[in-house]
Symmetry: D4
Subunit: 208 residues, 8 copies
């Protein structure tokens, strides 16, 4: 009767980055801009680090929504990039869905701007088609906390799992022994408190 | 086992505006008055823009609750307007339910003041009768956040979908190509940040 | 699959006031003391106004928990009053359950201090025995918001309906025409904003 | 030893609107955008209503800062408008200071974006030259509350008076009898709660 | 160079209650309505208890601002009551100032709605005339915290002392031995936590 | 359809303390450090007081995560202590699961740092294997409230019960008569408000 | 024209602990109880550590205010202890002032409950008599933040220096070389984050 | 009688970075770590960009306080670096003061961890010696907002000017024409909203 534990598997997961555009980002006010920028780039770094197929999509890049943030463009030069001609729900765009299906993955990791539209709509559509969906809540932003809370409720009630980028990284990695340095770097680059721990640690070591 | 994705369809949706009265509005303290006024008018503009049948109802206009806010009265001169003689749950008023059923719509979009009564009661009644119900949380207000949170839990647990006016507009519109200018105006009139984006954009264009 | 709409019925409801004791009240910090005192007395006034059977219980009155707040004692001189000898979950006290069952009511309205214990425990027990349970969240208090949020989740997940005293009064009353003045007084005594509306209204009337 | 009471005098006051530009507005996060837009327009309406000389200035309109918000441009078609070629402190621009001095006013009312720069710098310069300066804090915005608090401290310590647009309007008007309807309209247009009071009041009147 | 310690003296203090009107109270949002009502009545009780001359004034009672809250009217039937014909700053009304001067008191205790206008204006005027002024901040309310903070800064910079009703009562009383029961009752009636302490205490006493 | 009431039973419960390490604790920012330290030690005291089998585990003690906080080490010298060589989800460590199963308990009480990883992962795994799982939310900490809220939603949706240490203690104890002094001490040591009640009470007693 | 830098000197400072009583502590709501208890004990530890003369005073210990918290009594068995018979401002009690003057110190460190009365009144009196006064703001508590803010403004305007216990300890100690271990212990006992740093540090050391 | 406007002058200013050490940073909780890290690096970039003499100092690098954050070390390889042997107030260290005086600058820009000690102490000492002192509040951090507020009050009362890094950069730069690209880069690197504006702007340009 309760939601089963669907565990993220790096061999069965794809990442969807929806509408992280320079104009739309000015609408995000439920999370501080410094933190939000960091979270989005951390999620992108996870996608790279775990070599997850990643799909980018934007809405009306030529209009006020503005272009995809350049950092994401540069990080995923070879990823499918769907500039939607008008569909608000990215799932209504056949190329986008085709790109997802082409990955052959069953687990979809989704983040975007704004949460209740660009994230929630494809999340609900994907759930309806039987995908396991993981929302990266802290790499998704919207107008205010009230809007976010309503969107979370709608997505969670429909079966999505609400996560944040750090939990996502940990669930994908499974075991530190798979690569201590790589994961450590990821954390050090995006969690100032963790970076401080590492820097203190290095200093305190006898030979270092 | 989870809530299915019921997607708003502009051909199958009606809007219920419950008790947005000048006196009752002084009770609303879970949302700032400037923002709340904007959200209510934005929802009304959505109803007009998508030509959704809209039903107005009030409780005790002659008493301290005060009249319906004049802007709403002016926007919907031909809509059914049910001044309830005493029923607190609008769904207990036969004229109100008859007006809803006369629309032939299965999807009900509901907002009102105060959330846990004027919204929640008809929402729960409508769900019980098999309607799909969408609560416009940010065009609904109440005494404080604790009351709102409890009301959201009660409505969501009973099957309602919690939304905000912007998500509603986007889900109804489906595709920007249906009308770029119309939707753009709606957003520009009710989202200062979006208006700024548009104004910057226009300025930066070579021929504009 | 969703919670059905169980509607409060004044002919089928009883009120349980659990451990509103002078000492325990000093533990309540998730709600301001002025507001909390008002909410508890408003709930008590509702119980009186709707003539709902009301059951009082306390835990260790002779110890640091202190006596029941005197106002409640005075308002319900003839109500069952169970000073529990030690049971933390009031439902573990046979006299308490017997008093509830003696009312013959199926709907239980529960409030108390502290929320996650004195309220949640009997709520969960009552649900298990098939009662319909309504938690009056704003007449229940606890240490902090984190504790309250966890307690709400536990009770709601188990089937309880989360309400506040104002919604409760409205759902019990059903129709203003049953008694305009009585309900108006109840609101005027416990909602300063409503009292102001009434006082402005009276002043503005021609003959008053 | 304390600050003297310098009272705003509509015959001796000028308004400076500094850098309310469409791009810069996206930086404002210490106040909600709906409320901020309302406050800026309310201040502009005050300037018009009290017929105060008003001076507009912008920084780099052709760049990312974007154009002055169009509403302000339209409201003050004949006001001095200084598009500064580069000076960050508007007071460093001779045309700006000349325009101020040309008004012959001793009291300067200042608002702008962002508070600690576009407002604070000319405020401090004006104080240094002996003007009486009134900061319209709620029509000025910046990155976050910490920045605002520091900027307020700096300006207040230097002798500026911190106000908000409503207090400004009241201090300028002095007596309702000067024009009840005009001031009432100003308030009704920018304070939803006040508009509700007026609408309730009108309804409750016998002949209206 | 710092503010001297001017100590409240019950033989040299008068209370000014400015514009606590039923309509204007709906504008107060920087403090919860339950708490605000309590604070205003607590201040009024202090004025009665210490037999301080008290002066009431209102602005436009016949209009949307509404009548003085009835409780205050009833508590001070014989106090000077100045319904100002239009002056926004009560100090601009000669009758008001005359009533103050007729008390012969040098210390003025001021509270009202809204803080930055109805309180701040007469506070600044009174300071200018050499009175010692004590603002009862928690019996004064306004639109939001930003407005309040600016108003506090303006009043404090001009020499006013910022207090709350409890500190005021304590400074006026000086010594519990002057009347334990009277002060205890005042606190018990307006501070739920203190009432609980007293009720626990009474219960724990051997003979009670 | 709703979650059944699974009641904590001190004869059928074990406690899992996951990764309360000196380095990781610097990451916890959703709860104040003074309060968090108190909650963790209170939970540990509960485990001791109710003689619940307790299992300790850590991740990479030799690295930046740092050692288990010394207080916990000292309190449970004979408890199973699993220093995981790399598994992020403690449930992936066979020794950890074996230690749990060796207790023969069906109810697992879990707390740790950080909530969405070190707590949520084993919680989800344990639920999947049919355990009843109780999360001690206030003895678990993470980066911020957004992360915590998402983690709570994930765990609750999967069937976990969200609790806090005080509710846990009360549900395990069942009846004060089992040991008044012991439970009183536990509360006095970890709830300053309760300690104050007790100290007032003792003072007020005739013979004490 | 600005406040001079009066630097705390352990040879010229005395500590006044005013009314930290078990009953009065239930009134403190501007700071979390776990943190407040810690701060008060930290200040007491500072007084002991720096061997500062310390004076205790209480108001009506036999009444609802309750006894001095036992920990303080135990820590300062030989300190002057003035149970005031009724004076609200401790400075009105001759024994209290005599005890202070007997120390021969010119710098007074003051903390107490509640801030705007038990702290502010003697602070203002002491300033008037020419003492240098340091308020330990985080070891002083009151009803809410509004009250605290007003009290801070009154004390700071009168010349008091606002500090917290950690800054106090650092200013008194001057140089770590005076005693590394002692100060480290003080911090470790009252700052969980600092304790964690120390515990990590010890672990990371080669020989430890 | 008010503070004069001392304007930052890049030819007369030096920067003091005090105790930004990896261990001490874990104590900072009045500002989010992502934002704080950004602010500190932004201030460092300002120091480099404006070629201000910069002085680094640390306290007990070999102990739990940890090393200076490596980024700062790398950015200022040739700056005076004073590892204080024990003085808590950096101004008590002769080398530190000598390094400051060697710069010949009269304006000191100070930031550090924690605000009320490592910042406030040298700020107060520098003011006493006649320097003009500018506190970069958002590149300074401490335990909580209460501590910060008290520290700001102490420093501002003593004559310091409270600023944030963005205001500092603007006041130093004076005129965009001095170097548009350089300042734009500085802002783009540390203000995500500004970076978005620039990226939108570039995209919208005809030739780009």
């Amino acid at each position: 009767m309760t939601k089963p534990y669907v565990r993220l598997d790096k061999n069965d997961a794809a990442v969807l980055l929806v509408d992280h555009q320079t104009g739309l980002l000015s609408l995000v006010r439920d999370i501080d801009p410094d933190k939000f920028k960091n979270n989005v780039l951390a999620l992108a770094d996870c996608a790279k680090y775990f070599e997850l197929p990643t799909i980018l999509t934007t809405s009306f890049e030529q209009g006020p929504n503005g272009p995809l943030v350049p950092e994401l463009k540069e990080m995923f030069p070879d990823s499918p990039y769907i500039a939607r001609p008008g569909q608000i729900n990215a799932w209504d765009n056949d190329d986008f869905v085709a790109a997802i299906k082409a990955t052959g993955k069953k687990q979809l990791i989704v983040a975007g701007v704004v949460t209740e539209v660009c994230v929630a709509f494809p999340v609900l559509s994907a759930l309806e088609e039987g995908f396991d969906v993981f929302v990266v809540t802290d790499a998704s932003g919207t107008f205010n906390a009230m809007t976010r809370d309503a969107a979370w409720d709608r997505m969670s009630s429909a079966g999505a799992q609400l996560m944040t980028w750090f939990g996502l990284a940990c669930e994908l990695h499974r075991d530190w022994r798979n690569d201590v340095e790589g994961l450590g770097n990821l954390f050090s680059n995006h969690i100032p408190d963790y970076r401080n721990l590492i820097n203190s640690y290095i200093t305190f070591q006898p030979e270092q």
